[in-house]
Each structure stands twice: as structure tokens, then as C-alpha cells.
Symmetry: C2
Subunit: 225 residues, 2 copies
DNA sequence: TAGATTGTTAATCGATTAACAATC
DNA sequence: TAGATTGTTAATCGATTAACAATC
């Protein structure tokens, strides 16, 4: 509805989660849900759910609720999941290989077309039917095949160079697994998966659990040191 | 300083990033930095940096700034990175294997001690010197070896069961890669890496780039369709 | 129609930014 | 000491929650 006011990034980050719960509901054969039922399930307030959804349109019906299939399709379409994305992976190390396998299984609509690597030992291999090619050919390949997304699985030291090459070759988005913050023109979408940051947050919470838990303490900690 | 007021999760999520930039500064031999210099580098406002750091103590010095080494060590210690963590991976599929390799390379202090799997074909294998063991033995192993962190790399359908087993066996935190939200007692720390959610956010931003970019449009899009 | 539940405005809460006095 | 920059309080901004009129 509000085409003028930019949707806040907090809302956008909740969309995939809404969609996940809606898909589960679909599978269970539930066909309608009210914001308060949804709230109990997903853990956001009913108010927030209604507020969030109304950023994009009035998907509900007063006195009834939301149609599960309808809402699922709307959110899918808002996210852009009703079309395909061509992707390349840069870096054929462990992480690159895992992503090649992972996306292959999980992500209909997100197709890995090639993997690029500098290490000559890996070039020519096939990982899950996807060819590992010479990094030299990246620019030409991205241009020729109109690749949408570049996935960076290199070390942090080469990540910015790779990002620049991908950007110059015309990718629309970068999924970055290297532990650096990339500098990109505003026109290229970026999504970071900073695994080490995530692990470090976990460490923080582990070391500050005491603020939250009482009764569990004794049993678990008793024998420690 | 404020031992009473709970530190907000927004602040905590910024800590690993502060630490990353401080490590880079250390490597470059920089030994002091002011909040405004740091701001230019990391992209947070100087005010926010000072505000954030003062949640934990007065690490700076008026008229001087912050000592890079000192601050790095303080943040490391706040995060709990001055000690070791014993971890197990559950699920020896592609993702589990990737994490086994990844953490091995990157994370001093985070040691993967074992991988657990139900598939008998994988049991007995060694991945990066880490043994793949029968899932049946998970509970006993975690108890016996006082494992701190369980890493869930299973399908979404078994994730909650695995989380329950890990919790009952006494892990302090769970690093969850399965695309579900887990139900855990407050005493167990949880950190999710929802790769599909991340990819779906990226898709959103790719499809809404037009709001941000003008001049780039023509060249890149011209030939499309 | 009456009951239910949305869409939306208004109130609250929390997080970020600005300002400045304290102090190295 | 004078200059610089922090630590911290106060002001602003944005996001979440509450409330209720609109409407199915």
C-alpha cells in the first residue's frame, strides 16, 4: 500500500519467517489463521503481525482472518520467490562446496550455475554436477549467462576483489560468507552470513546465561572444576 | 558498569564486528583509535560506539581515545573468547561436513570433538580427523566429555528432537543450522543460522533495488528480456 | 444482524544520536 | 595548561504495542 514510505529492514527480515510458518500450516492443511492464532505460533504479537503485513497490502479479511495459501503466495511474491535466480559460487573450498550441495537440495528457484576457483587443483572438478571453473573466466561467464547472484566463499583477503569483479560483471546481489564487510554500490544487494560473528554471539550468551537461569545451574555446573 | 540493566541484544550483536575491526587495526600496527576515527572505519556513529562500549566499562581515555590492543582484549573477554569451547556436530551431511572443516580452520578456541549421525553409511568415517559416531551415543558422549556447544546440521524435522537430547545432556548453547525455530529452556543459549531466510532476504533486496539505484539501471537491464 | 477480526491511528517503549561537562 | 576526546545525560527518532473504528 505505502509505495512511498520505505519498508523498514526489521519488517523485511521477518518475512522469510512468516513464510516458513505459513508453509508448515499449508502442509498441515490449515486454510485460515487469525493474527492472534498466528501470534501464538510464531511468537510475534498479533499487533505486529497485522502491522507488518499491512506494509504490503490488506491481505486479511475482517471477522475472518488470513487465508493461509493466499498469504503464503503474497509473501513469496513480495520476496521475489516466484522467479528463478542464477548463481555462481566463488571459492571451491569447504564452504563453497557445502553451499553448492546445500542450495542444490534446498532451494528450488536458486540455481548454482558454476563455481569459480583460483587453485588449479580444483579447476575441472565437478561438485554435485556443477563445474569448477578458472576464476579468470568469472567476468565473462557472469556477463554471458546473466548471473543474478554471486556467492562469495573465499578468504576475507580476496573477498572485496571478488565482489568488485562480480559487481562490474553485473550481478544484482551478493551472498557473502567471507568474514568482512564489503563495499558495494547501493545498486547491488548484499546479504552477509558472518559465521564467526554468529559463533561469537553464541559464546557471549553462553557466558551470560546465569542472568537468565537459576534452577538448572546446580545440576549442570556442580561437577565443573 | 551497569550490572543491573541488561545489555540490549542490538549491542551484543555489534560486539563481534567491533572485534573484527580491532583485530585488523592490530595487524596494521595501529595502537590507538578515537571513537570518530573508528566511526569512519566501521560505519557506526562515534556516539553509538562510545555508548556501546560504556555498557561494559570505561575502556577509553579522555583526550586520547581507545587503546586498540586493550579494547580488543576487553571485547574478546566480554564475548568469552578467552576460553575454549568443546563442540559436537549433529548431522554429517554436506552442511555438517562443511562446518567440521570450517571451524577447524577458522576457530581457535572452538573445537569440534565429534560428529553424530544416524545414517550407518557415514558412521565410522573421519572428516578432517573428527570421527563420525552413531547418534545413539550422543547423550553419553556429551555428558562424559562435558560438551559446551551442540551444532545442529540435521533436517528441520529432527532438529527439535536433537535439541532436546543435547539440552538434556547438558550443553550450554546450540548453534542451529536447521531451518526451524527451536524450543529451548531459557538456560540454553541459542544462535540460529537460517541460510534460507538469509537467501530470501537477498531475493527481496534484489527485487527492490530500483528504489535505491538509478544510473546503473540502464546498462545492466538494457538487454534483459 | 451480531460477532469476530482486520486495518490503522495513537501511545509507549527502546534504541540511536546529539550535546556537553568531566577529565586525561 | 590547553586541546582533545571520553563518559554520560538529554533529545530524537524509529519500531513495537495498544486501542478501536471499520467492515466482513
Amino acid at each position: 500500500m505505502n509505495k512511498n514510505t520505505k519498508t523498514s529492514s526489521a519488517v523485511i527480515k521477518r518475512l522469510p519467517r512468516y513464510r516458513r510458518y505459513l508453509r508448515d500450516l499449508q502442509r498441515k492443511g490449515v486454510d485460515k489463521i487469525s493474527s492472534s492464532e498466528f501470534s501464538a505460533l510464531i511468537g510475534y504479537t498479533a499487533s505486529q503481525i497485522r502491522q507488518d503485513l499491512n506494509n504490503f497490502g490488506g491481505f486479511g479479511q475482517q471477522g475472518y482472518g488470513y487465508n493461509v495459501n493466499g498469504l503464503f503466495n503474497e509473501i513469496s511474491s513480495i520476496l521475489g520467490l516466484d522467479r528463478d535466480y542464477k548463481m555462481v559460487i566463488v571459492g571451491a573450498g569447504n564452504l563453497g562446496q557445502a553451499i553448492a550441495n546445500y542450495t542444490y537440495y534446498y532451494k528450488a528457484g536458486f540455481v548454482v550455475r558454476g563455481i569459480f576457483e583460483v587453485n588449479p587443483r580444483l579447476i575441472g572438478l565437478k561438485i554435485n554436477d556443477i563445474e569448477v571453473m578458472d576464476y579468470e573466466g568469472l567476468d565473462a561467464y557472469v556477463k554471458e549467462n546473466k548471473i543474478d547472484i554471486g556467492i562469495i566463499c573465499t578468504t576475507k583477503d580476496s573477498a572485496q576483489d571478488v565482489a568488485d569483479t562480480l559487481t562490474a560483471a553485473g550481478v544484482k546481489g551478493i551472498w557473502n560468507f567471507a568474514p568482512v564487510d564489503l563495499n558495494l554500490p547501493p545498486c547491488v544487494a548484499i546479504e552477509n552470513v558472518h559465521l564467526s560473528d554468529s559463533l561469537h554471539s553464541l559464546a557471549y550468551h553462553i557466558n551470560h546465561r546465569d542472568e537468565v537461569c537459576e534452577e538448572f545451574e546446580d545440576e549442570g555446573e556442580a561437577k565443573q572444576e
